[in-house]
Amino acid sequence: MGNMKLTLKVWRQNGPNDNGKIVDYPVNDVSEDMSFLEMLDVLNDDLVRKGDDPIAFDHDCREGICGMCSLFINGEAHGPGRGITTCQLHMRKFKDGDTIYVEPWRSAAFPVIKDLATNRGAFDRIQAAGGFVSVNTSGNLVDGNAVPIPKDDADKAFDAATCIGCGACVATCPNGSAMLFTAAKVSQLSLLPQGHPEAKRRALAMVEQMDKEGFGNCSNTGACEIECPKGISLEHIARLNREYLVATVTKE
């Protein structure tokens, strides 16, 4: 069925405390209609039949929205192509005879679990530090239309809110910074009136947690914005910078 032959150079690592290494795998019969993950499925199928250990990698929805898939492919987060996740990357982007490097996200804050799967719990902890509006479930809130929100603000908030938490920004950033992820949430909520009351507290708390997790510092290279599968803009990082500056200067 397939017509491409590829050589994969895949990072294999048994566990978090293991030293990993790159291992070469030839893959034959790759069809250009396959997604990158389906190509790995084929390789794994083969490995299992041979009695070898299949390659561990994270994935779930396979339609670019859950944020579970990762993979640093040929030196880029989610591989070549823009605005897509690894599960949306199709093999027609490659050609017969290609050698493809496949590595996990590299970050001190994302320890490798096995092979290509990493632990991104740091993102959850950043979110838990303040990425919410403190509102309890209630059947008696004000009507959804009680506070009109300018369409532009709502749209911008949405743009920030499309973050899927995949970690491509961290993986791509030469400094391993999580600013785009953190900024997307802070920015979304600071653009909406519902988020205003806690805006300062949120910015301070989320940045503090981000720093604790061991991410690097943003130096405005803009790499994250380009590799972000959802195209989240650096504008949101600037908004976080602003929010945090005001919060720092005015806190008592």
Partner: protein, 227 residues
């Protein structure tokens, strides 16, 4: 990694980097303006007048101290960021295609800064040490009877290797500014669709004009365009 105080969180470090950077940029404006007096080509008289004013004025002397503090803060802050950023990625990628998503110089600010620092040490040794510490008697007085810092320039820039190093230093400065100028605005949260192109234009223009002017000084002297 989180620490409190003056260089507290990652964002506070970033603000310091931006503020000290912008401060150093403002110094460059003064410095390049004053040094450009050599292009009057009047045997350094105008330039020496300016230099003497800078050397004697108590406000300027105070600012000089602030300048050194700013420079050191920029360096220390930069080193802290650099070491934290290294620690944030303990295992490097076997294959990393940075060219796909960033300019090389934006990701090389530490190296460029280090090159500029080396250049700066040489530059201070050439001029600041002589002007402020050891004195300029060796170069006599200029036509107006002023201390002759210009004379020191003529001597230093007679050496082609020094001229080359100065030009390379200016190149480092160019790349460093090309990212640093607009980056400082972004760090301070000044990002607006309407004004971004203006900032970008000013940044690029500044990064080209200032280092070019600086580089022209040793080159012009070496080639004898000014005397």
């Amino acid at each position: 990694m989180a620490s409190k105080g003056l260089f507290g969180s990652s964002l506070v470090k970033k603000y310091w980097m931006a503020l000290t950077g912008l401060f150093l940029i403002s110094f460059l404006v003064v410095h390049v303006t004053l040094n450009a007096f050599i292009f009057f080509n009047d045997g350094g008289v105008t330039f020496n007048t300016g230099a003497e004013f800078m050397a004697k004025n108590p406000i300027i002397r105070t600012m000089e101290i602030v300048l050194f503090i700013g420079l050191i803060a920029h360096i220390v802050d930069g080193l802290m960021l650099w070491s934290q950023n290294r620690a944030a990625r303990p295992v490097k990628y076997a294959m990393e295609k940075g060219s796909a998503n960033r300019s090389w110089y934006s990701a090389s600010m530490g190296i460029l800064g280090t090159l500029i620092l080396f250049f700066l040490i040489m530059h201070l040794w050439h001029f600041w040490v002589k002007s402020r510490i050891t004195g300029l008697h060796h170069y006599g007085l200029d036509a107006e009877g002023q201390e002759n810092l210009y004379g020191a320039m003529l001597e230093v820039f007679a050496n082609p290797w020094v001229v080359l190093l100065y030009v390379l230093g200016c190149f480092s400065l160019f790349w460093h500014l090309l990212h640093g100028f607009k980056s400082a605005f972004q760090s301070l949260g000044l990002n607006h669709k309407r004004y971004n192109p203006i900032i970008a234009f000013l940044g690029t223009a500044f990064s080209i004009v200032v280092p070019t002017l600086f580089a022209l000084m040793p080159v012009s002297i070496y080639l004898g365009w000014i005397k």
